[in-house]
Symmetry: C3
Subunit: 161 residues, 3 copies
């Protein structure tokens, strides 16, 4: 419940979609999961993990299919949402998503990273509606920390309340 | 023409340089080409494309020369400018460039990425003068989405008008 | 000495730690070392260099050990601090670190990038205390410009004074 004592519309939408946000994943080193900088909220890189375990590892287009990659992006996006909810008084200070950088661990010569990242962008649109906003940048990398399949880095805007 | 009905000095400079800005390239997935976050403007990753077609594909230092790479960076920079112009009421709300991240698809062992990205930085200086500003970060990657030679990610500041 | 004529606590801490900040490294191309965007300070990508010479080159987990990588991250972090100090009237306008992106040139199959980047995060914590703040994103890359071992990209917040 939000500070007003009412359920926030975004939480209602999550429930309608049958989605449960996890606890925001703990940082993997000596840094914070999220921090404010002026009226922006910066979220540390998020991975396709669940309960502290990486669910999708390996390269898309080779060890993993594009469909696996989409699912990985969607799972990492849930972790992003968990951080935003925790950092915005349960959505009450959340403006919209500003920027999504998506890193896809990719097989050599495999170039369909935008398709994979649509897994995240579509989840954001379903849950956040107009507040999904966001510019996006897709990257193809040969490996990610912890051999993750996907890493998402998000900046959101904050409301002044 | 700007909102004032006068041609903006940046458009005059473009004309003097014989440069014509394209339409801002459409996003390659479910996201936006640009978005405001507080007084900053975030632009989605831009490629060396023209009329929806990637003009420079492949790795610099191998399939492409450093000179090709510079031209690719310059072309991608024109697409960045097209987005900024469209998002700032034809430059009237544009402050200056804050950050340029440049990703260069590079042959193994080839390390002259800064030279390639100067193609973008020099175009910005020619067109925007003092408003070119910008910090820069160069990256060498083994491949980019759609096999592009270069990808540019830009943040600009906005004037409060 | 700060504008007030007194030594800033951060400079005192640097001295206690026996650390001397270098001159802010010059840009490697046609851009600026740092720039303000609204109340944020953007720093160009910093390398493990000293007196204009790259001290750590090559891939971590192969040509360099994880310990070398940590030292490289620490050296690059000193260059970041040098830029921040110069851009904030000797710390007087410095708020806190918002974001650290860390790029580690990595051997194939080597995934301990977070350990390397803790070299930077720990230095920031020692020198800046609570103002170290920062979210972090770790990247594994196959090569960096100039064959550097590590590259750090930082955004800081500014105080309004």
């Amino acid at each position: 419940m939000g500070v007003s004592g009412k359920i926030h519309p975004i939480d209602t939408r999550l429930e309608e979609l049958g989605l449960v946000l996890p606890e925001p994943p703990k940082p993997a080193g000596k840094y914070r999961g999220s921090i404010r900088g002026d009226r922006l909220l910066f979220i540390s890189g998020q991975f396709p993990s669940s309960n502290g375990r990486l669910v999708y590892q390996g390269r898309v287009g080779d060890e993993l299919s594009a469909e696996d990659g989409r699912d990985a992006a969607r799972l990492a996006a849930l972790n992003v949402l968990a951080h935003i909810r925790a950092a915005t008084s349960e959505w009450n200070e959340f403006g919209y998503l500003v920027r999504l950088e998506g890193y896809v661990s990719s097989a050599k010569g495999w170039h369909q990273q935008p398709e994979v990242l649509d897994g995240a962008s579509e989840l954001f649109a379903e849950v956040l509606g107009e507040q999904a906003g966001h510019t996006r940048t897709a990257f193809s990398v040969t490996q990610l920390p912890l051999n993750a399949a996907v890493e998402l880095v998000v900046i959101a805007s904050l409301l002044i309340i």
